[in-house]
């Protein structure tokens, strides 16, 4: 089975600004893909290309084997509106019913509202919802048409922890039922919790594409933190940060590094050893001058 969506060398410029620069990406069926990148990296533009909202300046974009700007290609697609854009005078149930009216076998509105913690708010006008309720509503409507592919742009921004976890559960349930998800997020924790595959985009280009473990392995596996007035020459340190007497060191072998520290006789305190996080990898990949670190790996299931 071919990918549900793909871009081949997709480039998109806004006047002189190149938002996406030759991005090729496949979204295979059943995958939960996390799209990471700093603000302005091109994530939203990529989602807009996949949803048919914009056409690429060059290159091709396909959705379910055709042009996403053809309405028929979007029958199995679910997107989220921006929560600031809900028609304020329509009621919650009306918004869901309206979107559902575009699909052949929609999820019954009551069931959907129940699933997204909006039961009891059916008669409320969307203009009177709290920020968190609006956010849940816009994510919920992405699922109403029983789509095969869902594009979620920053789905949990502005939600409290509990609501965020509830939403993650809904995304997981959908994915376990065979659904495919492309998710962008500011929260690396969110991508770590949900995504099987991570694509890092920066300045319009794909910087890394692999499983969570693969992308994490792009930086040394361990992060060692300590406080010391100064550090001796240490071997095996691949990257380091210093802020006053605080040091952050990344290394493949933290045991050897700690042994070196102890035998060197340096006075250190507050030693911490942790597994390098996705955030460490993300920062390394998107820091200025990191273009050469680009990796791409074929992934699939």
């Amino acid at each position: 089975m071919g990918p549900l969506a793909c871009t081949v060398q997709a480039t998109r410029s806004y006047g002189p600004v190149v938002a996406l620069d030759g991005v090729s990406l496949d979204v295979p069926a059943g995958q939960l893909l996390g799209l990471l990148g700093p603000n302005g990296a091109g994530k939203t533009t990529l989602l807009q290309l996949l949803a048919g909202l914009r056409r690429p300046t060059s290159g091709t974009v396909q959705l379910f084997g055709g042009d996403p700007r053809d309405a028929r290609r979007r029958c199995r697609l679910g997107c989220t509106p921006q929560d600031t854009g809900l028609p304020p005078t329509l009621r919650v149930k009306e918004v869901v019913d309206f979107v559902a009216g575009h699909f052949d076998h929609p999820v019954p509105t009551g069931e959907l509202l129940e699933q997204f913690g909006l039961a009891g708010l059916e008669r409320r006008q969307t203009g009177g919802l709290s920020g968190g309720q609006k956010r849940r509503l816009v994510v919920a409507v992405a699922f109403v048409g029983r789509p095969d592919l869902v594009l979620l742009d920053e789905p949990t921004t502005g939600l409290d922890v509990e609501a965020r976890h509830a939403l993650w559960d809904a995304v997981r349930v959908y994915h376990q039922g065979g659904g495919t998800v492309v998710l962008t997020s500011h929260y690396l924790e969110e991508v770590e919790a949900l995504a099987e595959r991570v694509v890092v985009i920066d300045r319009g280009r794909v910087r890394a594409d692999g499983t969570l473990a693969e992308v994490r392995s792009l930086v040394p596996a361990r992060r060692v933190r300590l406080r010391a007035p100064g550090l001796p020459e240490l071997t095996g340190v691949e990257r380091s940060n210093r802020d006053g007497d605080r040091h952050e060191l990344w290394t493949a072998d933290s045991d050897a590094l700690v042994r070196q520290l102890v035998t060197s006789g340096v006075t250190f305190r507050d030693l911490e050893v942790a597994r390098a996080s996705l955030e460490d990898a993300f920062l390394a990949l998107t820091s200025p001058g990191s273009q050469t670190r680009t990796i791409t790996k074929e992934t699939g299931r």
Binding site: Y14, R72, T80, Q82
Partner: protein, 252 residues
């Protein structure tokens, strides 16, 4: 997409646009009631309300006004408002082409025109001597729709080419001058010569003359159809240009 599906989606979009608009009643009531109230306050108490021809003419003029205010506000300002909302761009990710949305809007405007005309016609029928023989009904409706065409296309041009604020300002500054100079409030027979000369060139005057002729049977000035056709061509081209330009901007 198959035809019945398009019809169903058009109905869906028309219904929701209607619901959205009617939920802000104050915005609608003004448009709907102004023509009827004008008839009630400025025509019904006058002696000419007992003259069938004069009363019918006054009703016809206000009917054109009702059509114009829906065109300028529902199509002009309404479209500009929708374009500003991110909701509009979300709708373009749904499996629906542009035509159900556009047709839905057209139907929605027509619904508000009917809502504005019903009280107007009822007041004219019950409280004045205005008459419309059944034989003239279809002709009058046709004349009203024709008179509405340049106003509709003008509204669409405003909606697709301007921001909400600009659209509101333009709609407001067009409404009353076009209505007065077009003879929708005062019969043009009372106009001085220079004003009448300007009036004859306006789309509202041409529309008014067409509807008055259709409903009362008075003679149609020779220039009316020409002026109307000219305005339909001008506003129609503007509307197509504005619509394409808007799509072009968003899809660039």
């Amino acid at each position: 997409m198959t035809a019945p599906n398009t019809a169903r989606l058009t109905g869906l979009h028309a219904r929701y646009q209607f619901t959205e608009t009617i939920r802000v009643p104050i915005a609608v009531i003004g448009t709907m009631l102004f023509p009827s109230l004008s008839l009630l306050f400025f025509v019904v108490p006058q002696p000419f309300a007992n003259d069938p021809a004069a009363a019918t003419t006054a009703t016809a003029q206000l009917a054109v006004f009702a059509v114009m205010s829906v065109c300028l506000f529902n199509y002009g300002v309404g479209v500009a408002e929708d374009r500003a909302l991110p909701w509009d761009s979300y709708l373009r990710t749904l499996p629906v082409g542009p035509s159900p949305r556009l047709t839905g809007r057209l139907v929605n405007g027509l619904a508000f025109i009917v809502l504005g005309l019903v009280p107007l016609v009822l007041i004219a029928w019950m409280l004045t001597a205005a008459t419309l023989p059944p034989s003239r009904l279809a002709l009058t409706i046709g004349a009203l729709l024709t008179a509405g065409l340049p106003l509709f296309a003008g509204g669409i041009s405003i909606g697709y080419s301007m921001s909400t604020k600009a659209a509101l300002a333009v709609a407001n500054s067009l409404l009353l001058p076009l209505a007065f100079a077009g003879g929708l409030f005062l019969p043009p027979e009372t106009f001085p010569g220079w004003l009448n000369a300007i009036s004859m060139c306006l789309p509202t005057r041409a529309g008014r003359d067409l509807v008055v002729t259709a409903s009362t049977g008075v003679g149609l000035p020779g220039s009316t159809l020409l002026v109307l056709a000219g305005w339909i061509a001008i506003t129609g081209s503007l509307a197509v240009w504005a619509y394409r330009r808007d799509e072009g901007r968003r899809f660039r």
